[in-house]
Symmetry: C2
Subunit: 112 residues, 2 copies
Amino acid sequence: MPKYYDELDAVLRALADPTRRAIVERLAKSPAVVSELAEPFSMALPSLMQHLRVLENAGLVTSQKHGRVRTVSLRPGSLDVLHLWLGEQRTPAERHADRLGIHPIRTTPKEI
Amino acid sequence: MPKYYDELDAVLRALADPTRRAIVERLAKSPAVVSELAEPFSMALPSLMQHLRVLENAGLVTSQKHGRVRTVSLRPGSLDVLHLWLGEQRTPAERHADRLGIHPIRTTPKEI
DNA sequence: GCCATACTTAGGTATGTGCCTAAGTATTAT
DNA sequence: ATAATACTTAGGCACATACCTAAGTATGGC
């Protein structure tokens, strides 16, 4: 069990939800205020706020309130932990391919 | 909504669970049979099998049965979709740092 | 001061998820 | 043939999660 276990767990749980992923995608472009974030979703505000709380608890997002407006932004580097974990889950075959600089072939095709 | 949306969703849902992540970590080393996979977990077999089904449905894992033994292996390249998505969620600051080859500084420190 | 705005808090519901036990089925060993 | 092994299927239970509505609480504009 690696040291970043809890952080990774929180991050993956947070990203497992499509709404939260959409929020992250939106914030990757630029910070936004809550009402701005809420607009594309047909969802009551409290529901969206809950998602923001999950993202914030996972460390993916920060926010600060100025007056009555809360601005939310993606926390740079917060996805590194996932990147790190991903790097460790390469199969021996993939590691071998890495060393040769080969793009590995998928066992079963699946268009992306 | 990108084309790999459904695949990504399935993969992230699957990886959101610690047991399933542990299975993936184990399989990254080498394929294994079900009873071998089950051993480290204090969990009834059917519960573990359910996790395997989730991983298989997400395309992260394949398995084949020879006689009464089922061998499970990690599907090479199945994590690419996550890698791809991750690459797109870089903040403008991070993109800038990429171009300069700089390792970005975390907004809030958090040891990994 | 008064009202609109921008969240926030406090509940409540419905579905999903992770786990279990009990009872199969198929395959291999004796 | 009998029995042990290696899953599999079926069903159930408890808690988590994603939503909702209704009713706050600040803050800013008039």
